[in-house]
């Protein structure tokens, strides 16, 4: 198996999870965040179900030397809780609450052929790629 094919499998599983859990539906997400209104706590179980698998799974993988198809694991190395993290997470949370979409569901909902989904995706991709591009350019400046 090659890296592309295994990534496709991961993407399919991820997309299926987002669909079955209804996380692709912005109305469901906003209801989850609507604690002081008409609260629907269902989506807390999405995170719960995922952690049920990833916590023990990562614990085992941590002890392995390398993954099946790569020479090394790419575990994140950053540990600093800094301003960028807090400001970024705040902006993301505001946008998430405003729209009911985070990046995974935004992409997974493309197949709904719903104009609002495409509008959101266009705005998200433009700003995400723009931010990446500019921060990379600034970083490479002497």
């Amino acid at each position: 198996m090659n890296r592309s094919f295994s990534a496709l499998i991961a993407g399919l599983l991820f997309g299926a999870g987002l669909t079955i859990s209804a996380m692709v539906n912005p109305a469901k997400v906003i209801a989850f965040l609507d604690i002081f209104g008409n609260w629907d706590p269902s989506l807390a179980f999405v995170m719960g179900g995922a952690l049920l698998v990833t916590i023990p799974g990562y614990f085992v993988l941590r002890k392995k030397e390398k993954p099946l198809l790569e020479e090394q694991f790419f575990w994140p190395e950053a540990t600093q809780v800094d301003r960028k993290l807090i400001i970024g997470a705040t902006l993301f949370g505001m946008g998430w609450g405003l729209s009911g979409l985070c990046p995974g569901p935004a992409i997974a909902s493309v197949g709904a052929f719903e104009i609002n989904s495409l509008i959101f995706l266009g705005a998200m991709l433009t700003s995400a790629f723009g931010y990446r591009y500019i921060s990379q350019r600034n970083a490479s400046r002497p």
């Binding site: 209104g37 995922a50 799974g57 198809l69 946008g95 989904s117 700003s127």
Partner: protein, 142 residues
């Protein structure tokens, strides 16, 4: 608390967890959608193909599932127009600046017991709750 769906949410969550586990076990990568997306711009050439395949799976799975249940991709957008575009911009910038979203921080990061990811997750959840409360009090949500 109408439409409470803890079982399908847990099942969907477990599939997302399985996806994250598979991508780490095979490719050695964190299944964070915003990170995979952002890497399309900044990662070296040979590191882009698997990202596109992951995103392809993410789009394909919901479409395939609609053959089983037609209403899987019948989604609703409580917020539309300018606010939705603003939401997309905030999600795009916020996730790149804060190095992750619901999947990268919320599922993968917390599973590694990363303090950074825990702080990010609490921050974006809180910001989302506040934003939805604002929308509700402003009469945007019905």
């Amino acid at each position: 608390m109408e439409n409470f769906t803890p079982i399908s949410a847990t099942l969907g969550g477990m599939l997302i967890g399985l996806s994250a586990l598979w991508l780490m076990a095979a490719n050695g990568r964190i299944a964070g959608v915003s990170g995979i997306l952002g890497g399309l711009v900044t990662a070296p050439k040979g590191e882009r193909r698997w990202r596109l395949w992951f995103l392809t799976g993410l789009i394909l799975a919901p479409l395939l599932l609609t053959f089983i249940r037609r209403d899987y991709l019948e989604i609703q957008f409580p917020v539309t127009g300018t606010l939705l575009i603003l939401g997309g911009i905030l999600v795009g910038i916020g996730t790149q600046m804060g190095s992750g979203c619901t999947s990268g921080h919320g599922v993968c990061g917390i599973a590694r017991f990363s303090a950074r990811s825990l702080v990010a997750t609490i921050t974006f959840m809180a910001a989302g709750v506040v934003m939805v409360a604002i929308l509700r009090s402003a009469g945007v949500l019905s």
